[in-house]
Amino acid sequence: MNAPTDHGHEHGHDHGHDHRGGKPGAKGMLPGILKGLATTAKTATRRAHTREYPDVAPELPPRSRGVIALLEENCTSCMLCARECPDWCIYIDSHKETIPATTEGGRDRQRNVLDDFSIDFSLCMYCGICIEVCPFDALFWSPQFEYAETDIRDLLHDKERLGGWMDTVPPPPALDERSAEPAEVAAVNKPARAPRGAGTTGTSGASGA
């Protein structure tokens, strides 16, 4: 619809009552009305922003805090995570097993075997301290978030369930271009130390190998 006649009047009139007075109002009304139409029309021709979530899975960034996954093999039952957890939502049970000595006259060794590792996600506040504190890389963030339950008591997830989420843990993001090399790589590449008493003048290199 060609509206200028009508809105031209409206504008001139509104300007008369504009308390800010002067020029800003003179530019304001008519272009504003047309701009509103233009903006909405332009938006209508573009793709909608709607994410059709249940039909289309969202693309979450790799560091999303969806759920905490457990890599059971790496866990030593050291209890650091359970102790650092601010709301005490990690429950760990373990027992010691004796591994017989592999050599004659050797000493038997003991190791911890994990019986139960549960996180109560009705208490968890997703701070990630357990993941930060784990010295053995047994805990990971996974972007998986679809584990709602109808009963709050069903939010206590055991180690099988937590382990199942390991598949959804994304690979760690690549390091920045000029960052220092990772600690593990640095440790491997570091020249071995010379054995003690090998001589004060000796080079610290090859003899260690």
Binding site: D6, H13, L37, A41, A44, H49, E52
Partner: protein, 318 residues
């Protein structure tokens, strides 16, 4: 007219009355959503939510019908029908094609204007009978607005009728010629703005301004009665859009108008309806004083000037 013909015509109007407003409503859902960068309804009915309004209707029918204790019961309960039925009558008198109208009366323009102004009474009744301060405030705002905008509306219709030399809508289309688009342009704009205000559509929705008046005159309504008010609003859009198409856009005039004339009328009406929806999305609500000022200081003079211009045009060309 035989009894059978009366029945067929009535059923046809009723069907149009139930289908066209839903069509406009669904168009509004979708157009508004995309203008706001959304998708709108996507699930109901399977394909792009085409059955959303049917689902809404089912929902409304299931709701409890509540009448407030302090309300004026009778008036409260008949108000939705007073708002709705006039539009049914108006739709019956709208011609879609040469001789295709449910009710053919000589002065159909007058009948339409009369019917559409009765609808406003329903709003006023609803507001008064609700015994609710918000409803009353909304009803009074609505009354003030409808009284103000009735005049420019009638004058702009009068201009088109004067140009055609007849009060019959079919006669207006007969007399229409493309240069009316220029000659009657101010009147058409006045009609469109005044029709928006009559329908209480944004930017003229001060009577139901939900930020301050909850839902205006409809505040106390639930269930089907509330749905009837909504239906009346969308039926109003249909009626005014078709009226605009018939008065100012030449109705069924267009290529293949002998066979497809009715389609042209509907198509032109749909374009106007989309325009009405577009205005709702694009513009913020006007303040009460701005509303009144626009009606009396802008639309009325323009409508009068248009009437004079039409008069001069008619005298010069005849």
């Amino acid at each position: 007219m035989s009894a059978l013909e009366v029945v067929v015509r009535s059923v046809a109007v009723l069907a149009a009355f139930l289908v066209l407003p839903l069509l406009v409503g669904q168009t509004e859902h979708k157009v508004m959503a995309h203008m706001q960068g959304r998708l709108g309804p996507m699930y109901a009915g399977g394909f792009h939510g085409w059955a959303q309004l049917v689902a809404d209707g089912v929902k409304f029918a299931q709701k409890e019908d509540i009448t407030p204790r302090a309300a004026d019961r009778t008036i409260f309960r008949i108000a939705p029908f007073v708002a709705l039925v006039p539009y049914l009558l108006a739709m019956a008198a709208l011609p879609l094609h040469e001789g295709v109208a449910a009710v053919e009366v000589p002065a159909s323009a007058v009948l339409l204007l009369a019917a559409t102004s009765v609808g406003a009474l329903g709003t006023l009744m609803a507001g008064w009978a609700s015994a609710n301060k918000y409803a009353l405030l909304g009803a009074l705002r609505s009354a003030a607005q409808l009284v103000s905008y009735e005049l420019p509306l009638v004058l702009s219709v009068a201009s088109a009728c004067l140009a055609a030399g007849t009060l019959s809508l079919a006669g207006v289309v007969e007399a229409w010629s493309p240069w009316w688009l220029v000659w009657q342009l101010p009147g058409a704009v006045v009609f469109l703005v005044a029709a928006l205000a009559e329908l209480q559509r944004p930017p003229f929705d001060m009577p139901i301004a939900d930020a301050e008046l909850v839902m205006g005159p409809w505040t106390e309504y639930t269930g089907l009665r509330f749905a009837f008010f909504l239906l009346a609003e969308y039926a109003g859009i249909v009626v005014f859009s078709l009226l605009f198409a018939v008065l100012f856009l030449g109705g069924w005039r267009g290529p293949f108008s002998d066979e497809l004339g009715w389609l042209w009328t509907l198509l032109k009406g749909l374009v106007v309806a989309v325009l009405v929806i577009w205005f709702r999305v694009a513009w913020p609500r006007m303040r009460e004083d701005q509303l009144q000022r626009l009606a009396w200081l802008v639309l009325l003079p323009v409508a009068l000037a248009q009437l004079a211009l039409t008069g001069i045009g008619v005298v010069v060309t005849r």
